[in-house]
């Protein structure tokens, strides 16, 4: 599944039951609507874990942060575990500045990024582990 708006993209991947939404681009007033739909779809599918990978976002403001907290709320309502990968850039600094990092369950980035699901819904062949 892939949702796309100007300046913002969501790619979904899955590994070991953990569904990861990899966000890239800028998350603000114009693009937040592109986040709630895939989160809600996963919740309704009944997946066990939804993980938001924010490490490739180039910008997020308080409106984007609100959407992340809304995603956390949706997952709680549907009984899904919720994890966030904040990355190391502007998004992390925003989470720190606002104190919200303390209420978000943070996931370490995968040693090997989960295989992306392509448009046919099939994951590509596994790549050998990196040393």
């Amino acid at each position: 599944m892939q949702a796309s708006q100007p300046g913002f993209e969501v790619r979904q991947s899955v590994r070991d039951g953990r569904h990861t939404l990899l966000l890239s681009g800028e998350l603000d007033l114009a693009t937040v609507a592109g986040l709630e739909t895939p989160v809600l779809d996963l919740c309704r599918e009944g997946v066990s874990t939804v993980e938001l990978d924010l490490s490739r976002l180039t910008f997020m403001d308080s409106t984007g942060l609100r959407a992340v907290l809304r995603a956390q709320e949706l997952c709680a309502e549907h009984g899904c575990d919720f994890l966030v990968i904040p990355g190391s850039g502007q998004v992390l600094r925003l989470l720190e500045l606002t104190g919200t990092i303390e209420s978000l369950p943070l996931a370490d980035a995968h040693p090997n990024r989960p295989a992306e699901v392509d448009q046919r819904g099939e994951p590509p062949p596994n790549e050998p582990d990196q040393p």
Binding site: L29, F59, R93, T98, G99
Partner: protein, 207 residues
Amino acid sequence: MRQARRFRCRAESVAGARHFVKDLLSEEPREIVEAAELMTSELATNCVRHAHSDFELAIHRSREEIRVEVSDHGQGQPVMRSPTPREQSGRGLRIVQELAEDWGITPSPNGKLVWFALPARTQTGEPLRTHAGERKSRSTASREQAPEQSHQPKQSHEADPGSHGAASSYVDLLEGHGKRGPFVAHSRIATLWRSRWSLKAYGTALY
């Protein structure tokens, strides 16, 4: 030097305003550009989402200061809130309060103007950290020059015990978090961050 642009009342204008600021400040240090982008995004979002108004973005640059003004035709006044970490909204103006060297709201007959100021890199290439000691005096001067403006003083800056202290200061700030509330504590942490970024940027990193 003043440069300005008008934006329509639509969600895409928020990114447009942000990119306008980023382009004009391309020679400033990264942490200054990042702070200006974030604050501009917050103020532009308020225009579109709350004031439901077209807005004008103006940037005034001097040797010492970058001043960004966002004016709209909305009648309401923005209110600064203190959300808990779990609350979903109410952070826009709080972010401006935390990151700006100075800021304020000026009502106008047709709406309002919200502005913020950041230190500019000096012509001599002086490291940004030298601005920290000047912060209070410049803020005071700014207020004296604009007494008509509604202003919320940045007490956290004036209480700043010196933002380039040892690691123990950082620990103290973290430990004090619960008592002072997240934004007060993080304001001072953000000041430490700005110091760290600028030190890194100028090749004299302490971390």
